[in-house]
């Protein structure tokens, strides 16, 4: 996707909006196939509101919201051979699309596992509602301001952790039923 110019123009807009200091936290990250903007979690609300509200940008559709485990926790070996994980990050990737302008943009935010709080974008796009619930269900990312942040795919009484995290351990029994094969 050769949309680097477009992304540059978006970041310029944020420099005007937020000021030089804050906007410098919004980084253009180039990965081999897609170029995306890395935005700190505390700026997500204002960035998303601008992308949604500004008619020149007009990102009226949230295509996909992905939770993700960055798998960068530090492993330390205990004396008995077991491993403990410390730190580590979770991330959320937003794929936005503007149907009238035919533009796409990808926003990524990284939050620490210890305090995985991201502002909810449900007030802007209703389609974020269940997708945020799914990200919470699978990774434990807490979307502040979400109207009803409960588990969606797993049972409501599931208390064995968040299954898609890389360090997840499946329980032996659930409600008296043996889980492993």
């Amino acid at each position: 996707m050769a949309d680097t110019e477009f992304i540059k123009s978006v970041t310029d807009r944020f420099t005007l909006l937020l000021g030089e200091e804050k906007a410098s936290q919004i980084v253009i990250t180039e990965s081999p196939f897609e170029t995306f903007l890395t935005v700190p979690a505390e700026l997500i609300s204002v960035v998303m509101t601008e992308l949604y509200d500004n008619p020149a940008l007009g990102f009226d559709s949230l295509v996909l919201l992905t939770g993700n485990d960055e798998d960068d926790a530090v492993k330390t070996k205990n004396d008995d051979g077991s491993e403990t994980l410390t730190g580590g990050n979770l991330s959320v990737v937003y794929h936005l699309e503007s149907l009238p302008n035919r533009k796409k943009i990808i926003i990524k935010t990284i939050v620490p596992k210890a305090n995985p709080e991201v502002p909810s974008v449900t007030p802007l796009w209703v389609s974020a509602d269940w997708q945020e619930r799914e990200a919470y269900d699978m990774y434990g990312i807490i979307f502040t301001g979400h109207p009803n942040l409960i588990r969606i795919l797993m049972p409501y009484d599931w208390e064995f952790g968040f299954p898609l995290r890389k360090d997840y351990q499946n329980p032996e029994f659930y409600q008296g039923i043996k889980v492993p094969y």
């Binding site: 797993m154 049972p155 299954p163 997840y168 409600q175 039923i177 043996k178 094969y181």
Partner: protein, 160 residues
């Protein structure tokens, strides 16, 4: 069957034993719970529809388990669904039969290893009469499974 061709011509009287009569009646009208779970349910629907015509074996889907005789577990049973499947089974009046259709219901199927939310075999929650392998089984396999179930019912003894 052999019951009807005996002594039927003169007096409309069939001589048989009660077990055989009851079993014949039961196996000829197995009403199933209209209940689909996953991919196998589509094959179950295809079996009920025009091409394969489940009706000719007396199998009619009923919306309520309380009016049914068999339940076909057609697909993956998850941990969230397990208690509901059990409840459905308990609502069916006796005598009741269970057909486990497809690998997922038999043993967890392709999800046996990494499926943290998949029940590895429906027989962990309810008893099963006939297992049909396949992912998904063809409608012919389901029909074969039903014939096996009918064979099982034919050889039952309830009156003693």
């Amino acid at each position: 069957m052999g019951y009807l061709d005996k002594e039927f011509t003169d007096s409309n009287i069939i001589v048989t034993n009660l077990d055989a009569l009851l079993n014949w009646a039961r196996l000829s009208s197995l009403w199933q719970v209209g209940f689909g779970l996953a991919c196998c349910a589509i094959e179950m629907m295809a079996t009920s529809a025009s091409h394969y015509d489940f009706d000719r074996f007396g199998v009619i889907p009923r919306p309520s388990p309380r009016q049914s005789d068999i339940i076909i577990i057609s697909g993956t049973v998850t941990l969230k669904m397990a208690s509901r499947v059990k409840r459905l089974y308990e609502q069916i009046p006796d005598p009741k039969y269970v057909i486990s259709m497809g690998s997922c219901a038999n043993c967890g199927g392709p999800y046996w290893d990494h499926g943290y939310h998949v029940l590895k075999g429906v027989d962990r929650v309810i008893p099963v009469d006939v297992y049909i392998p396949g992912c998904p089984p063809r409608p012919e396999a389901l029909l074969e499974g039903l014939l096996k179930l009918q064979e099982k019912i034919r050889n039952e003894s309830r009156v003693g």
